[in-house]
Symmetry: C2
Subunit: 112 residues, 2 copies
């Protein structure tokens, strides 16, 4: 695909708002600010759901879930004689959905 995206840029929330406004059906009249507002609130809603212990399952996109990293003992490379207790912590894991995987595979095979 010869899109400008091929330059491997960073896409931000503002870029998404522009793309979404252009992609959306023309009869759905939405201003850029409304789109940006919905995007921000959507990300907040995903974050809140995760923080409250939920899994967020978005069809055609992927699944966000919380995983617990158990407490472990690490070492300071500058002073390896001292053990450092790294407490248990929660991390967000994202697993891409089938649609995204298929598209990545298709993109990879046209690259070569």
């Amino acid at each position: 695909m010869n899109t400008p995206d091929k330059e491997r840029n960073t896409v931000t929330k503002r870029d998404l708002a522009t793309r979404v406004r252009l992609a959306i059906k023309p009869d759905v009249k939405l201003h850029q600010a409304q789109v940006a507002d919905v995007i921000s609130h959507t990300l907040d809603a995903i974050r809140d759901a995760l923080v409250n212990g939920n899994t967020v399952e978005l069809r055609n996109f992927g699944v966000f879930k919380i995983e617990v990293r158990k407490e472990r003992v690490g070492r300071n490379p500058k002073d390896p004689s001292v053990d450092i207790r790294i407490p248990e912590r929660k991390v967000v894991k994202f697993r891409s959905g089938k649609e995204m995987k298929n598209q990545l595979e298709a993109a990879a095979s046209t690259d070569t």
Copy 2:
């Protein structure tokens, strides 16, 4: 927090649309369908950006980027004598932002 979320449910795109519509300022009059439409297009736009090799950096939320898993040789556990070539593939990695990490940490400490 005594939200119903504490039951550790799965949150879907439809749930997000409801939550976003309720969270958004009341003077921004948007129908549920419009919100759902923006959410779907946003997820599509993130996916397209990733498939085209971009990094997607969403402030207060996190960063999506593509990582390449190199080709490797695996084994069929049922017939370990045969090597299986697992071709190079691209995967989506998500790293949560500072805001999300802080909130997860705060939620973890109120759990105990």
